[in-house]
């Protein structure tokens, strides 16, 4: 409503006539070293381990270097790692780090920083929202749930250092097999977290400090007898070597919600609160379970598949072939963070007073819900390429306000998808005889908008197929106004007509092929999703008759849900309702608040719901097809097909990426023909970028490398 009115006023009195939407500065009015960006809201954190909001992802990439980082096309490029080797079986990945990378405090960045950060992400007390990114790494998820342990003593025929798996004390019911619950420990009263096998105490005060530092340099003192949790010990497979005088242990002390962590000489730890506890463990899934005590085992980081042969080489081992592993290394979970900062302030080291960064920028100021100020880092290895001295990100959580600020020239560009749909007809040319403003750019986005069907409620396959076939998706962009790409395919990508010749060849299609394709390695590897069940009203009625003959129609109108608040969701709901009514399927629509909708769909308590899926990197399986696996915790529609499972397993065992794509495509075809989901369109991203902003690369995953931007005061004469 607010936006609608703003638009009326905008159109009524001030729709500018020129080529650009709003004021455009030039010449001396521009500061060529300062870029002002209207970000989409307030970042939740700038710590890569804890940040999970969209508003934080580009700031994190600007502040923290990764083994790889985002290239202009959104695909990973070498950064902290200069090169890497991928083993033929796609299970071992060796990265070689540059030696000139520095933290902003001057310390060199090493492979230990990468490993220690991963251990922090994987630790249950960190509660990192990004921990699932580590799932392919051997032992990472089991470390989080304390399922995988390492023997500290030789008992029951096991040797010191043996990696063992904890056997659940009681069957954990219907919990999905790849999503172990942490509740299976009998010593967890009232649903409290189970006692950690790594709890320790000390008889003397523990002086938490940096590795090897003197006791007087401690920044926190743990009182005697207070439990701490041991996270890692020096001299492990991927931990720092022990200083002279023996091993040190890194412990976490939860003195409050923030807590504190630090190194202490390992010999100072003695008490074992869970020492007498009886545990069942086994060496391999097939081995017999044996009984050990809490004091015999530890949740060592050695159980995680990471090795450090030398300080500038890190090796990751995955449990299964992981063809997309290199793509994970630019994600937040794998960007290294400085242990000296997060030890002292585990939840607040990302504030200006405490932060230590490694990327193109450092943090100068962070005014909550107002702006984040970055300045060029004097220690970044590639600082000569960073042309901006200052980068300001305004936290704009209201789309209309963000667009208004851009219009008045208060920001130089807006984050993707921060233009209200009510403004779009004025900007995209619909209201100016097709003349879109030149500073408005639309690009495809790796996301898909769909109607997700609860297949245990709507069990009849013919009915679901009728639902999919009844929708003419080409009409949808007419009321979403953002150039969305109507699609009956699940996996999103770039429209085939927009691909380069090299990518067309890699995809094995011609420019005339309809639909989208997902380029995974430029000019080399590409996934073309199967066509899906596109609009065919005759076929829809036929499927409906088949469903009726089988008695598969519900005796009530089907309920379609959407989340309230966005006008487009409502319009699409009404459009789908009308389309389904046309073929004879009565549907009623219900609006729900977002949190309730997520809760209900997660429990499977719905019939059809609007939802969407957005990919973080270009891979069909990890981000999209995995949603339809029987055991996936994200399988809201409860779809479960033996054929689909078999093909997905087959694809995951393949190390040849082309062959894998072919099997994935067959799997997607099986699934989409069963219609557990009705894809509607591929998302687009809408950018407003002033003409003097150069080097702002939009890409499929919306990860523009913002540090490559520069401001051109003479833009008009170039």
């Amino acid at each position: 409503m607010a936006r609608w009115l703003a638009l009326v006023a905008l159109v009524g009195c001030s729709l500018p006539d020129g080529d650009y939407f709003g004021r455009v500065a030039e010449g001396r009015d521009l500061d060529p070293t300062h870029f002002r960006w209207c970000n989409q809201g307030e970042p939740d954190h700038l710590d890569p381990t804890l940040a999970s909001s969209t508003a934080s992802s580009q700031l994190v990439a600007a502040l923290f270097d990764g083994l790889t980082t985002y290239g202009p096309d959104g695909l990973p490029v070498a950064s902290l790692a200069t090169r890497w080797e991928v083993a033929d079986d796609l299970r071992t990945f060796t990265f070689h780090l540059r030696r000139d990378a520095r933290w902003s405090n001057g310390r060199g960045v090493t492979a230990y920083d990468v490993a220690h950060s991963v251990f922090r992400v994987a630790h249950p007390l960190t509660a990192s929202p990004n921990a699932d990114t580590l799932a392919p790494i051997k032992g990472a998820t089991a470390y989080l749930t304390r399922r995988v342990l390492v023997m500290r003593r030789a008992v029951a025929g096991l040797r010191i250092g043996d990696v063992v798996e904890r056997v659940p004390d009681a069957p954990s019911g219907s919990e999905a097999s790849n999503a172990p619950s942490a509740t299976d420990a009998p010593d967890a009263p009232d649903g409290a977290a189970p006692i950690d096998p790594d709890e320790r105490t000390a008889r003397a005060p523990l002086a938490l400090r940096d590795l090897g530092a003197a006791e007087r340099d401690a920044y926190a003192i743990v009182p005697p007898g207070t439990p701490v949790v041991r996270m890692m010990t020096t001299g492990g497979r991927a931990t720092l070597p022990s200083p002279a005088g023996g091993a040190w242990a890194y412990v976490l002390w939860q003195r409050d919600l923030e807590g504190v962590g630090g190194w202490v000489p390992a010999r100072e730890l003695d008490g074992e609160p869970g020492g007498d506890r009886v545990l069942q463990v086994r060496r391999a899934a097939s081995a017999p379970a044996v009984t050990v005590h809490g004091r015999d085992v530890e949740a060592s980081t050695d159980a995680i598949g990471i090795r450090i042969p030398d300080p500038y080489t890190i090796v990751f081992e995955t449990a299964d072939p992981t063809p997309y592993f290199v793509s994970l290394t630019d994600s937040r979970a794998l960007r290294p963070t400085p242990i000296e900062a997060w030890s002292r302030w585990p939840r607040s080291w990302d504030r200006p007073a405490h932060i230590v960064t490694s990327g193109p920028f450092t943090l100068a100021a962070w005014r909550e819900r107002d702006r984040v100020e970055l300045v060029r880092s004097p220690t970044y290895w590639d600082r000569a390429q960073v042309k901006l001295a200052r980068f300001t990100a305004f936290s704009m959580d209201d789309q209309a306000a963000s667009t208004n600020a851009y219009f008045t020239g208060a920001c130089d560009a807006t984050a993707a998808n921060n233009v209200p749909s009510s403004y779009l007809p004025a900007i995209n040319g619909e209201q100016r005889g097709g003349r879109a403003y030149k500073d408005y750019a639309v690009a495809p986005f790796l996301g898909v908008y769909f109607a997700w069907i609860q297949t245990q409620k709507l069990t009849n396959r013919h009915l679901r197929r009728a639902l999919a076939l009844a929708i003419d998706r080409t009409a949808v962009p007419r009321f979403t106004h953002g150039g969305e790409l109507p699609s009956a395919q699940l996996v999103p990508g770039t429209p085939i007509a927009q691909l380069s010749d090299a990518d067309l060849a890699a995809c094995g299609v011609t420019r005339a092929t309809p639909g989208v394709a997902l380029v995974m390695v430029t000019g080399e590897l590409c996934y073309v999703p199967p066509p899906g069940l596109d609009y065919d009203p005759v076929a829809a009625r036929r499927e409906l008759e088949l469903a009726r003959a089988e008695g598969g129609l519900p005796d009530h109108p089907i309920e379609y849900r959407y989340n309230a608040g966005a006008e487009a969701h409502k319009q699409i709901a009404e459009y789908l309702q009308a389309a389904w009514a046309q073929v004879g399927i009565p549907v009623r629509i219900t609006a729900q608040d977002w949190n309730s909708l997520l809760d209900d769909t997660h429990k499977g308590d719905y019939e059809i719901s609007r939802l969407g899926s957005i990919g973080n990197f270009a891979d069909p399986q990890s981000e999209f097809l995995s949603l339809f696996r029987c055991a996936s915790p994200d399988n809201r529609g409860r779809y479960c097909s033996a054929d689909y499972e078999r093909l997905m397993d087959e694809a995951n065992a393949l190390s040849d990426r082309r062959a894998r794509n072919a099997v994935l495509r067959a799997a997607e075809a099986v699934m989409i023909e069963d219609a557990p989901v009705v894809p509607i369109y591929v998302y687009t991203q809408k950018h407003l970028i002033k003409p003097y902003v150069r080097g702002y690369a939009t890409n499929l995953i919306d990860q523009p490398p913002l540090w490559r931007i520069w401001i051109d005061p003479d833009w008009r004469s170039r």
């Binding site: 607010a2 001030s14 949190n595 997520l598 809760d599």
Partner: protein
Amino acid sequence: MTGWLRLAGGRLVASVAILVAVATASFWLLHAAPGGPFATDQPRSAAVARAMEDRYGLHQPLWRQYGRAMARLAHGDLGVSMKRDVSVAGLIAEHGPISAVLGLLGLAVAVIAGVAIGVVAAWRRDTWIDRGVMLGALIGISVPAFVLGPLLIASIALDLGWLPAARIDGARSLILPAITLGMIYLGTVARLTRGGMLDVLDQDFIRTARAKGLPEWRVLAKHALRIGIAPVVTYLGPATATMISGSFVVERIFQIPGLGTYFVTSVTDRDYPVVTGVFVFYAALLVVLNLAVDLAYGMLDPRTRDLGARTRDAGGRARDAGAPAGGTRR
């Protein structure tokens, strides 16, 4: 004196009871709503979700979580935001002053313009001036902030380019939000002022003042307004609490990092400690400002200056808020 003490003691007990009730209601109502602070549409395994929830003890029985929250509150600790990892008290300290400044500016707009309009309307009652300004006030009451704000932005910021369209950046950027916020209350203040003034202007002491030959502006400003403004003062107590604790709509339209936003987002985010924190804070503001209204009453109207005497009167109530216009006639 004992009357005053009894009043203060009673007020204190009632205030604590109110705060406990607000904290209790916000806790149980929000926990009754489906979902939680860590709900997401992005893939997330049960193990990771569990680790995030365990950090805040969300799997403990509700009565125990409630007990902990209340024990924390009793120690003056509002807890930590589950979504943002910052203390709720810090959040109020960071964003509260921004809302307070904006609220006071809005209040100034509402009171200065509203009282002036009300006085003029009462003074020229039943003329076209009266009807004209009161119609304007009615429109002011009726046009919501989410209409007025965008209209002001479109005309003054986007079209004319005189003022910023969004964000707080210098004093100029406060003008449009203050007007938008003030207009919500301006109409009501004008109507209350007019009503109060009409009651007073008929009374004997006004006639006396006029008979003494005082200029009309002094009669209005010095004698009539002091009494006639009473209903406005009564209304301003809770209105001030609402204004200085921030408006979700105004803060959103103008992108102001104030406190008002949290009254809505903490609920939609299911950020339990923030919900309890901001609502308890708001309730405390209401309690304090209502007390301030009582004190202001005594100062404005000499006839009610003896607070002790007022507590002994029939209703036992410290103020006659229920009947603003008639309250001064005793």
